[in-house]
C-alpha cells in the first residue's frame, strides 16, 4: 500500500484498502475557518447533537478576513468565537494562517487523518499525514461524528531527481509539476512526492508543495516522513504519532519523473495555475504589486529568501510590496532575525498574518488593469480583486526581485551571488 492507503486503512479499521473503495474513516482533527465555519455551525445545529465528538480535535482558525475587515466579518467571527467557547473547541484568532499555524503548534502529526473546510488543508501532507479539504457540511458531519466518508484515491508518484539550482524552490517544483499535468492532472488522486530532490527540501518548502496539490485537482499531496520531518514534529508533538512509508511494491497509478536540476524559477501566468513558464520567458513584464505571504509561502524560509533579495535594496517606486508573515510565531522570529527591518528599509509594507489579499479579502486588493506578482496559490480571474487584473504566481525570491526592478525578473538579476 501507499502512505495514503495505509493512513486511510488505519483510520477505518481495515487491514487494507484499495483505490476506489468507499470507507468511513475516523478523523484526528477537524478544522474550519472564518469563511467556512459559519455554514458548518448551521449544519451542525441541524444534526441535533449537543456537543462536538471531541472538542480537543476540533479547531476553528480565524484567518481569512482577520483582523476583522468589516462589520459583517466581525459579526461572523463573534458568532464563531461564541460557538467555540461554548463547545470548548480549540479557537485561534489573530494567531496566523491555519495551514501555517496547525503544523507549527503540533496539532497535526505524521500518520494523522485530518479534514478541513479549506481546500489547502492538503498542506499537512508535508508531515506524512493524510489531509484533505472538504465543504462545510462534510465538516459539520465530522464535528458531530468524528468521521468522514472517503473514496480511497489512487496515488500518483512524482519522482524528482537532480539538484535544484539556487533560487529554485519547492514552489518552483510544484508550479512546474502543475504546468506539466494541468489543473485536473491529479483529479481525485493523491500525489506522493519522492526522490532526492524532495529529500533535500526544507519542511517549509514541503509545506508549499503539499499546499498546492489541490491546484492539480488532488485530494492530498504527501511526503514520506524522514529525519527532517521528525526533527520538526518532535519539537512540537505532545502525543504519539505514526510514520508511514509506501511499500516497495505499492501500486501507483502512474510515476512521473521530473529533473529538478534543469529547472529555472517558474511563473504561473494568468488565469490558471497550470499556465506555467520559466521566468526567462516572462521577464520584463511590468508589475504594480508584489505579495509575499499566504499558506503557500508565508513561512520563515520564505521570508528569509525574500530578505536575501531585498537586503540593502529598494522596492521600485511604482510597486507596492506587501509582506505578510504566515503566523505570529513566524512574524516574531522574523523580527528577531532582523528580516522585518530589511523589508521596511526596502520600502515594503508588513502586515499582520492574514490570508487577506490572496483571497481578494483585504490588505492588498488589486485594481483593473493592474498586474500583481504573488507567492500565493491561485491566479484565477478576480481572485485578488478586480476581474480585470492579472496575477502571476512565483516563489518569494522572484516576487521580491520583481518588486525591486518593477518587472518580473530572475532573482539573480537583483541579488548577484
Amino acid at each position: 500500500m501507499t502512505i495514503v492507503e495505509k493512513i486511510i486503512a488505519a483510520h477505518s479499521d481495515r487491514a487494507e484498502v484499495r483505490p476506489g473503495e468507499f470507507v468511513t474513516a475516523k478523523v484526528d482533527l477537524v478544522m474550519a475557518n472564518d469563511l467556512t465555519a459559519g455554514i458548518a455551525v448551521d449544519q451542525f445545529g441541524k444534526i441535533g447533537v449537543e456537543g462536538v465528538f471531541d472538542p480537543k480535535k476540533v479547531v476553528f482558525v480565524m484567518d481569512h478576513f482577520v483582523p476583522n475587515k468589516d462589520i459583517a466579518t466581525a459579526e461572523q467571527v463573534k458568532r464563531l468565537r461564541e460557538f467555540a467557547q461554548a463547545q470548548g473547541l480549540i479557537y485561534l484568532e489573530n494567531v496566523g494562517i491555519e495551514h501555517v499555524v496547525l503544523p507549527e503548534m503540533g496539532l497535526v502529526l505524521p500518520g494523522d487523518l485530518v479534514v478541513g473546510a479549506d481546500s489547502h488543508t492538503c498542506t499537512y501532507g508535508a508531515l506524512g499525514a493524510f489531509a484533505t479539504g472538504m465543504g462545510s457540511t462534510d465538516i459539520a458531519f465530522a464535528m458531530a461524528t468524528g468521521e468522514v466518508w472517503l473514496k480511497v484515491p489512487p496515488t500518483i508518484e512524482f519522482l524528482y531527481c537532480g539538484k535544484a539550482s539556487k533560487w529554485v524552490t519547492g514552489k518552483d517544483l510544484i508550479l512546474y509539476t502543475i504546468g506539466q499535468i494541468g489543473v485536473d492532472g491529479a483529479l481525485y488522486s493523491a500525489m506522493e512526492f519522492t526522490g532526492d530532490a524532495v529529500d533535500a527540501l526544507t519542511m517549509d518548502e514541503r509545506f508549499t508543495m503539499a499546499n498546492m496539490a489541490v491546484e492539480a485537482g488532488a485530494k492530498a499531496g504527501v511526503f514520506r516522513v524522514d529525519d527532517r520531518t521528525l526533527d520538526y514534529v518532535r519539537a512540537r508533538a505532545e502525543r504519539a504519532f505514526t510514520a508511514y512509508e509506501s511499500d516497495p511494491d505499492a501500486e501507483y497509478a502512474q510515476t512521473i519523473e521530473i529533473d529538478a536540476s534543469s529547472l529555472e524559477p517558474q511563473i504561473s501566468l494568468p488565469h490558471s495555475p497550470d499556465n506555467v513558464k520559466p521566468v526567462s520567458e516572462v521577464a520584463g513584464l511590468r508589475i504594480d504589486q508584489a505579495v509575499i505571504g499566504s499558506c503557500t509561502n508565508g513561512r520563515l524560509d520564505d521570508l528569509r529568501l525574500c530578505a536575501e533579495v531585498l537586503r540593502g535594496r529598494r522596492v521600485h517606486p511604482r510597486v507596492r510590496c506587501i509582506v505578510i508573515p504566515g503566523s505570529q510565531r513566524v512574524f516574531l522570529q522574523a523580527v528577531r532575525e532582523g528580516l522585518i527591518e530589511v523589508f521596511l528599509e526596502a520600502g515594503a509594507v508588513v502586515s499582520t498574518p492574514t490570508c487577506g489579499p490572496c483571497v481578494g479579502g483585504h490588505m492588498g486588493i488589486i485594481a483593473s488593469g493592474e498586474r500583481c506578482i504573488s507567492t500565493t496559490n491561485r491566479n484565477f480571474v478576480g481572485r485578488m480583486g478586480s476581474p480585470e487584473a492579472e496575477i502571476f504566481l512565483s516563489n518569494p525570491a522572484v516576487a521580491a526581485a520583481s518588486a525591486v526592478t518593477g518587472e518580473i525578473c530572475h532573482p539573480e538579476e537583483v541579488a548577484k551571488p
Binding site: F22, T24, L35, T36, G38, I39, D42, Q43, K46, I47, G48, V49, H64, F65, D70, A72, T73, Q76, G116, A117, D118, S119, T121, G133, M134, G135, S136, T137, D138, A140, F141, A144, T145, W149, K151, V183, D184, L187, Y188, G217, K219, S272, V359, G360, G361, R378, F380, V381, G382, R383, P387
Partner: protein, 167 residues
Amino acid sequence: MIRGRVHKYGSNIDTDAIIPARYANLRDPVELGRHCMENIDPSFAQKVRRGDIIVATSNFGCGSSREIAPLSIKGAGISCVIAKSFARIFFRNAINIGLPVLECAEAVDNTETGDELEVDLSSGEITNLSKGMVFKAAPYPDFIKGLISAGGLIEYARQILKSGGER
C-alpha cells in the same frame, strides 16, 4: 423531471469564477445567486431563468472548498449542472446542499448555450430537446446513492447518531 435552457461554459470553471470570496459573508442563497459567475459572466444572474441548466466541460468547480459555490448556483435558479468532470470538493458540496450534478461527456459535447434539456435524475437520462438527442449520465456510486436516499448527509448523521453509531 428537470427542464431548462442551457448556459454553457468551458473547462476549469473555478470557485472564484462561480462566487468570489468577497461575498463569503453572505449566507442567503438568493443573494449569493445575484453574484454567481460575476467574475467571468457579469450578466449571468440576469440571464438565468428558474430551472436553467449549466453545462461545462471538465473540472467544474475547481479551487476553493467554499460551499457557497454550489449554493450560489442553486440560489441563481439553476436546477442542475452537467459536466465531463467535477472538482472533488465541489462535487461533494453539491451533493450535500442538494444541487444535482451529473457527469456526461456526450451530453456536454452535443449541447450548446440556449439548447433546451430535459433531465431525469432518477434514471440519469439527459434529453437535448433542441437537437433530439438522448444521453445517459454516469450513475452515482452506490455509497452516494445511499446518502441521497437517506435524505442527505445531515439526515444521515442524525440517523447514525440516533442508532448509536450503527450503520
